[in-house]
Symmetry: C2
Subunit: 340 residues, 2 copies
Amino acid sequence: MPEKVTIADVARQAGVSRQTVSNVLNAPELVREETRERVRQAVEQLGYRVNQAARRMRTGRSRLLAVRIERTQDGMNVFDRFLHGLTESAAKAGYRVILYSADDDRSEIATFDDLLGAYEPDAFVLTSTHYGDVRTSWLEERGLAFVTFGRPWGTPDGGGHPWVDVDGAAGTAAATRRLAGAGHRRIGYIGWQEGSGVGDDRRSGWARTMKDLSGTTTGDTDGDKSGDTGVLERRTDGSTAEGEAAARELIAAGATALVCVSDSVALGATQAGVPVVGFDDTPVAAAIGLTSLSQPLSEAAACCVEVLTGRLDAPDGGSPGDGPPDHVLLEPSLVIRRTA
Amino acid sequence: MPEKVTIADVARQAGVSRQTVSNVLNAPELVREETRERVRQAVEQLGYRVNQAARRMRTGRSRLLAVRIERTQDGMNVFDRFLHGLTESAAKAGYRVILYSADDDRSEIATFDDLLGAYEPDAFVLTSTHYGDVRTSWLEERGLAFVTFGRPWGTPDGGGHPWVDVDGAAGTAAATRRLAGAGHRRIGYIGWQEGSGVGDDRRSGWARTMKDLSGTTTGDTDGDKSGDTGVLERRTDGSTAEGEAAARELIAAGATALVCVSDSVALGATQAGVPVVGFDDTPVAAAIGLTSLSQPLSEAAACCVEVLTGRLDAPDGGSPGDGPPDHVLLEPSLVIRRTA
């Protein structure tokens, strides 16, 4: 590996601080002529290539993609896999990932603003989209480039901005069919409270498949709660404890197998002794032998980078709204283990 | 929340692209006089505060801390907690975290170089320190600011550079004492292969405590393998499968309880039916009721930021080697669950 000359090498050679070298390169008027000359000689002797960051400033491109790091709840999420994939894909495309944290939409928007002022990221990658998501409209109004990992829930046209997501409904449908294939007909569903786009999506795959199985494949699609499925469904706060309680209630109501909205809930449900499928293929699923749905997170991250760089590298500078929107829906895969 | 004016607002107001606004601000010679004037008027009308990034360039400070995102192995690590803590602590101190990935020391050093050329991070946070770690000497030779989360293993004086770490030996000692307090005397240890600083450290707490328990509290500290402890120890590749095999061998050799180097190994060991303590308090430990040692990762991350900002904000510009080195060793805590 050829070792490039750094600002610290120049500082050592010239016998000055890094700060002084930086001043000579960026604000020479702050530095005495004698010192300036010494630093310039060192730059020349060492062959220091001046300040790519400054060059990038001049091009108006920071080569930074900003993404929020999610707070770990019970640790049973897979966001770190997405973030690793994003970091790798971004680097291949010549970008780096800059992190921020935020507790809610409003503090996230305040952080957008702070980041734009201080670092000028070329684009944002938003995660955990939800109904009434004000973050995306804030970015759209300002013509800023972004992609969401997660669909724009609650917008009838599927949202005009670029997004990448995993098809949760296809996942729970596959899980339900798998259990039906093993002879189960009364397959229960343990979900989250209403109001979660991801939760509603995952529920819909089970409900649709149950309707298909019961032979009522025609008719309105809003009738999911009619007939058997209403009895065979419980909503929870997402905790393992409520997952176990819900499983016992559903089994008492006649369920012989369970599809769950998450591995956390499924972990509780496995205590009730019937076949169970979880969602997210967490390390816990692998540890306890839980059959679970795995999201293709590296692929999702790569798609996010591809969608963004396609726009950023467009000749007009890549404001969203130009060109067709990019909407990518990936399929999860069922990882079969002991519980189903 | 007062909404700040962004470069996109200026672009819209002036009817030009963001690129053009950036050019006017940073390389006005590239822009026609008429356009320049239009952008300048928009800047004035909107009260756009010119380009903090450019200001930061002039101060020679990027306000970026670079950290590697670790590859998830079996997912049973807790790096995401450290990274979240680092992002939050850095933001409070006025810094942001920029991510990179790397497969080995040499590719990481190449990435240092690339980052320094393109983004000029003010400092690096290195994780997963190990014997013969060439990354730290590379950074030290160049006078670059950094802190390691992890001790400089194999350097007799404990290393001159700043580091923050968690006292693994204190953790396994506490675990061993806990099992001894429950009446166990033949307490086995399941570790990793030799050559891991972290592994050797965790092993030493068990070995030292076993020696204390056997009454041979005096004598050389290198004699850990004499007497009982050698029989009661197995080294593994860190997998759950080898953890289970090792546990069965140790129980056959008379062990009545087990201290493990990781939750992955401990997960296997729990199959053998004796009390087990793991290490890292992963979500899997919580899920299966595994007693485990928890690292104070938010605190460790906060310490890393504190050590760095103490140096970066020093009057001389903060080259390492000035002032006393900062070495912070934190205690893990034992999270008691069903298995011990």
